[in-house]
Amino acid sequence: MARLVSRWHNAAAMHWTDAIVESLKSHDVWLIPYVPDAIGWQVLSKLEQDPAFHTVPVAREEEAIAVAAGAYAAGKRAAVFVQSSGFGNTINSLAQLAVSHKIPVPVFVGMRGGLGEFNPVQIPSAHPIPGFLDAMNIQHFAPINETDVTSYVDGALELSFASRMPVAVLLYSQLVGAKRATS
């Protein structure tokens, strides 16, 4: 019987942030439009220092998708970082640019509102996101263990660029730790 060998096996786990940086690099992602959050910033602060990337802080999340779409139209690859609280702000450009035109935009979402959340208003904006992505036919993946990050992110990026569709990587507190009210 034929045995399937996972291409996505990751023996030694890097820190989740380094794993994302390396995956983005190995998929030639260059432009990084973002609205910062405490989770995404752990990756973004590394991307900002790395000459392989050009980071673009934007004022509102829907801009980030549109900037990424523009870069793709010009032959370059982009990935977007937003917080779950601002995910809703992406819908105009996610639907009417990325999904409708089949533009591959990997979206990393710093997920609040789950385990360890101290801020009650984060919950109703984060909780519907997987269902919303399903309704829009956008695949989403959530690495929980550090050993899975490379395989999930490599896989999500490959899937996005091959299918020319947005794909979301949801970064939950199980992986990234819960934000403390005092920090």
Binding site: L31, V56, E63, A66, Y72, A73, N92
Partner: protein
């Protein structure tokens, strides 16, 4: 000044440079003026043309990149002006066709009809080169300057609305890929 005249003036001055057109009137008028692979006709994502243009401009710094925006649409994405100013792309030319109305939805007056000045907002956002014009002649002069000199530019053109051509038969996916091929070959 009329939007189709402004669009023709722009088309006379470009070869293969991308033009990103706002949903509705700008998309329709651009299509009817001249079909070219480097035209990106948007059909939605209202407000986003300047952000798309920024992405193109950053990815292709060797080419001038033109955006044809509308007043109602830019009012929906004013933060984009600040984002553009911060990135400071020398090659981006952001044209706003200000007819003081949401023409596409029936001509309801926008906030520019009651005193909001988009050129002042662009200036206040930190855009390097901002001009406001109301005649075709001044618009052409502004375009010539924007072609000669580094930007980013924001050209706010006061226009009279006289309607636009029929809805063109464009496949959005095909349009995107054609534009992309002008860069990737």
């Amino acid at each position: 000044m009329l939007r189709p005249d402004g669009i023709r003036a722009l088309l006379e001055r470009v070869t293969d440079e991308p033009i990103i057109a706002n949903l509705g009137s700008a998309t329709f008028d651009l299509y009817h003026a001249q079909q070219r692979d480097a035209n990106f006709y948007t059909w939605g994502a209202m407000g986003m043309v300047s952000s798309i243009g920024l992405g193109v401009a950053l990815a292709a710094p060797e080419k001038k990149v033109y955006v044809i925006d509308g007043d109602g649409s830019l009012l929906m994405n004013l933060g984009s002006l600040s984002t553009i100013a911060r990135q400071n792309p020398k090659n981006l030319v952001h044209i706003v066709m200000d007819n003081q109305q949401w023409a596409e939805t029936g001509g309801q007056p926008t906030h520019t009809s009651t005193g909001t000045d988009l050129a002042e907002i662009a200036r206040g956002s930190g855009i390097a080169r901002v001009v406001r014009v109301s005649s075709l002649e001044d618009f052409e002069d502004a375009l010539d300057s924007a072609i000669r000199e580094e930007g980013p530019w924001c050209i706010v053109a006061d226009i009279e609305e006289q309607g636009h051509g029929a809805r063109p038969p464009v496949s959005v996916e095909e349009n995107l890929l054609r534009l992309r091929r002008t860069f990737t070959g």
